[in-house]
Symmetry: D2
Subunit: 350 residues, 4 copies
């Protein structure tokens, strides 16, 4: 039985880890870390967990957790793990970081977009960007997984094969996405109150959202040159779900534009054997309701013959494939288990 | 592997059965019955099921299903099963009916409240009312389970121990409940459109809702005399969940009213060993969010010293403990399996 | 032009006052009071007001407001006005208090339920409980209106005629109500976050909600004896609206119970000429969507012949008739204007 | 008093016309046309109208309406008005068509995108596209106004000045929009049920939505050449509101790209005097909540220096500026009234 510790267990992503691990046969949460609720029963904060655990929330103590846990998940704001992680800790345990601290391989890019100094830059190159569908083999051999962001998981996976195969011009890529409000976290802030979010659609972080460089990093790998994109997130009045609608110009080859079959072939090449990616049949587009509660990524696409663009759409549950589910998937890989363990529940609808 | 057939698989309750059985290790759906979608892939209607089944929807054919299935779930409008079920079918298979046809042991009561003639009254006495927490032993020995209604499951379980122990006067019982909109079914009706339900609370079926006699039947058994109650359902702008707030006058015994400890003792007596019933600590009240997606019933209570009434509150997921989950629980009992099989997922929040 | 000041203009009730007064031909807001946003443009906080006002938020200064304003609305937490109001201020201006400080004529009751000492008990008897449909004449002659609570407005008006006419036994009265989340205010608290409220129904303040004594005070006046009731509020996942479902036993007279016509006659007697009260035809029940954005109270009722109870249902918009709209109605009365001025917009649906 | 008739008064757009005209001092609805509810009181269908009208719904009879009404609003599916309108009718009354029948000046384009034959092509050139901010003078002199679509109103107004001033390359324009569900109409269809829409974001009509040629028609006028755009609508889980996020490449002039001030100057040039258009200050972006219930268009923008694109965002209430409000605005122009009459209410929040 793998002993897991969670730093930030009482945030939405942390609590989703608790839920998923409760259904995982080979792992068990033994440390419910929380900054705000130390000494309180976890199940008195997240009452869905009543009957599943009697553990109290404990303060964060990475050193001690490293002694007791086989794996530590950090579901914290950026800057936390970067400032406390050491090589010594990584010798004792494996770490899956749900924050952004080790996602960007270029330190100046991290410091510019996040506006904070990176306190452990020497560990960045040890970290593997934890998108299993792209970096599975590297994940197997690391002790430090940088679990991708929610928007980025959806945005990257949706565009990656077409960029990698040269079917689209990555510099024309525009990503317009909407997220449920759990993505904004459980902090008590006026903009996240029910009455402020309900009956509202709003854009935010336009041109400046921190997931932008993360998307660009991975798509640049695919394109084999530095890519710059527009990414615009929106807050939607729902709990869960991310939908990313992406636009890019098709690249002519031999005088003609790629056809639907070419696009499909590219997706099949990269994802044909991926359990968690469901490529939709022609004429269908993803909707967030069909992936809710699950680790699936649904991807659909259509070519606009009038503009010679392809419109790609991806949908995930931001708390599962966009956070806790992907973290469990990474844990499964790290420990040599079946990657699907604990993640095979059918999405919940309605 | 138990072979299950579902009549009405493309309604919300039927589709929830599909979801729950997909996670059940010892049962498998082999017949996806549907009136409206015959010949279409189930997973093209409920796209959350993509990757879980490639089966097409089939027309209802109870005779043929009886040959092929170990158990048949009927998630249909009232009147259907009553008009097609025969003793012959029950010799070949077990039937768990999610409609109201066999819930009421008194035929005239059924015919009065439902306004239809019962076509197979001779089978009613074979049926067992499928509330495992009250009738577990009888369920073990039947071939026909009348799966309780959603409001009734919540309303009955919340009041039963106090009625049975004589702590409250059942004739003062008032049940005020609210349900998510999945309880209204998937029929295309104007009152169930998003814009009609959203931003709205409405009562309906006041004094006339068909779950009333079902509640009265079970509480009369507890009271050992005929009980008459007020039950008022409301439609709430959410997908899932039922909350029942119940009021009753405490009964004096030896000159004093029951205290909180007496109430708790009664709940513990009846439900202390019930996995799916979570009796909340003093000062806490149930909320539907904490049971969403699960088979749990959360129950809280408080005494009003000013009015000598007890206010009991119960919460369930109407599609799980109020329909499909309870049906699976009943199936588990019918086939001698652990009652919790396939039903141990933690509630999903947020 | 009446000059109005608002203390607490940046709360939901205060901002609704701003909206309603923007459409009032004879009144104008000249003081946007706010504790949290002093010096910021009101329209930068409530951006719906962009183009309607360029005023900045000012600190609360009741003395100065009394000099400049013809009427002051206080949309603040309880305790504020009670601690700063003086007779001197009331000589200079009229005050409409949306808090609870002057609603309860019995000081010990106030201090017990609110847990705070009343700092100006001598002003309580000057105050008039501002439910125009019950106390219109007294309102005309006061300088201090205690604007009723949201739940109380709905609960009292729904039951009042039947209590006053002796048709129901007020000690059997049970009030089960649900409110939209704007009633919880704009404070940044975890329980009011979108993800905590959405997809959830929850009871709160069971047996202890502070609107209870307010309801009892007014219904005791109607009954001419001290009445004690059960009142249970619930939080519903919507922005606006209160629905109160009320139950009471009918009182026999001359050997028979009141009939539907008797009930209707009582409502007509009290409300037949009230513009803002819409008594629904037989067979119809109120829904919050039909009053949203308006000052209307919709009331429906039905007798349960089986239990000899009447079920009464009332619906209001908690921010309008439950707060700001009623405050404007009171202002109109105080200044001798048509009571409907600024309040004649049709409810907004959907 | 202008006598108004509405064909399709019981749809959402028609009912919003009823609401807005109830607050219009110089107009009155005298004909509530409805296909589904002939003979029923309008206020029994839309119960928010109780107390505002006692009129029954009447069948559509354009001839008779032309005799009795000064203006007819047609809030019907496409194809209806095109098949019944005659020059004779236009001699007797003015018509404001909320359907698409007369919006596209090019008949083949209409027939291709809508898949129906136009039955009165000779009337198309009489019609004026009713976007007052662009075609006010022409509207004054017509008898037939083609009221714009909801998405189109928002999409066109948001991009128009930048296209007209040559600041952006219109062929790079990508419009990604989300709408509340009232835009889908009141038809009883499964995809519009509460449980299907709630907790979901979905794209639809990708590359094929019928508002595309309408957007292209108006932006082509601005660009002075045929423009082709990508337009992707999404359904959001809310009642009202459209948010359009638009992306376009900036056009260099004299070796440099336009700056924020250039963009603002363009918006000010076209909309500086427009009451209903609110150009937001730098750093602010529109949200649908701030325009709900009103005829306002909020527009914000930002330049991405990394991609040399401008991101423009527009927000409207789809039922007001996107349908009924704009129709009233057009009526006001047609009859020489102040354009704002009946449309000056502050947006409703929350």
């Amino acid at each position: 039985m793998i002993k897991a510790g969670i730093v930030g267990a009482t945030g939405y992503a942390g609590a989703e880890l608790v839920r998923l691990l409760a259904g995982h046969e080979q792992a068990q949460v033994i440390w419910y870390g929380s900054k705000s609720y130390v000494g309180e029963d976890f199940a008195s904060i997240y009452k869905n967990a009543r009957g599943f655990t009697r553990e109290e929330c404990k303060a964060d103590d990475l050193e001690k957790m490293a002694e007791e846990c086989d794996v530590i998940f950090t579901a914290t704001p950026q800057g936390y793990l970067g400032s406390v992680l050491t090589e010594d800790i990584l010798k004792k345990t494996k770490v899956i970081d749900l924050s952004a601290d080790y996602r960007l391989s270029d330190i100046p890019t991290y410091e510019k977009w996040y506006g904070i100094e990176h306190k452990s830059p020497q560990l960045v190159e040890k970290a593997v960007y934890g998108l299993p569908e792209l970096h599975r083999d590297d994940i197997k051999n690391t002790d430090l997984v940088a679990n991708p962001g929610c928007y980025t998981t959806c945005s990257i996976l949706t565009a990656y094969p077409l960029v990698a195969e040269g079917l689209i011009d990555p510099d024309t890529l525009i990503i317009d996405a909407a997220s449920g409000t759990s993505g904004a976290g459980r902090g008590a802030k006026v903009p996240n109150l029910f009455c402020e979010v309900n009956e509202n659609m709003k854009p935010y972080g336009v041109t400046s959202h921190r997931h932008t460089p993360e998307i660009e990093q991975e798509l640049s790998l695919a394109a084999d040159h530095q890519v710059v994109v527009n990414f615009t997130p929106h807050l939607a009045p729902m709990n869960r779900g991310i939908l990313a609608t992406e636009y890019a110009s098709l690249v002519q080859s031999g005088g003609s534009f790629p056809a639907m079959d070419d696009i499909r072939a590219a997706y099949e090449k990269y994802y044909g054997n991926e359990y968690f990616i469901r490529i939709l049949p022609a004429g269908e587009m993803p909707e967030t309701r069909w992936v809710e509660g699950s680790n699936f990524v649904d991807i659909g696409f259509i070519i606009d013959e009038r503009t010679h663009r392809v419109i790609m759409v991806g949908a995930i549950d931001n708390l599962v494939k966009g956070a806790a589910g992907q973290a469990v998937q990474n844990m499964n890989i790290l420990f040599g288990m079946d990657e699907k363990t604990g993640l095979t529940g059918m999405p919940v609808f309605p």
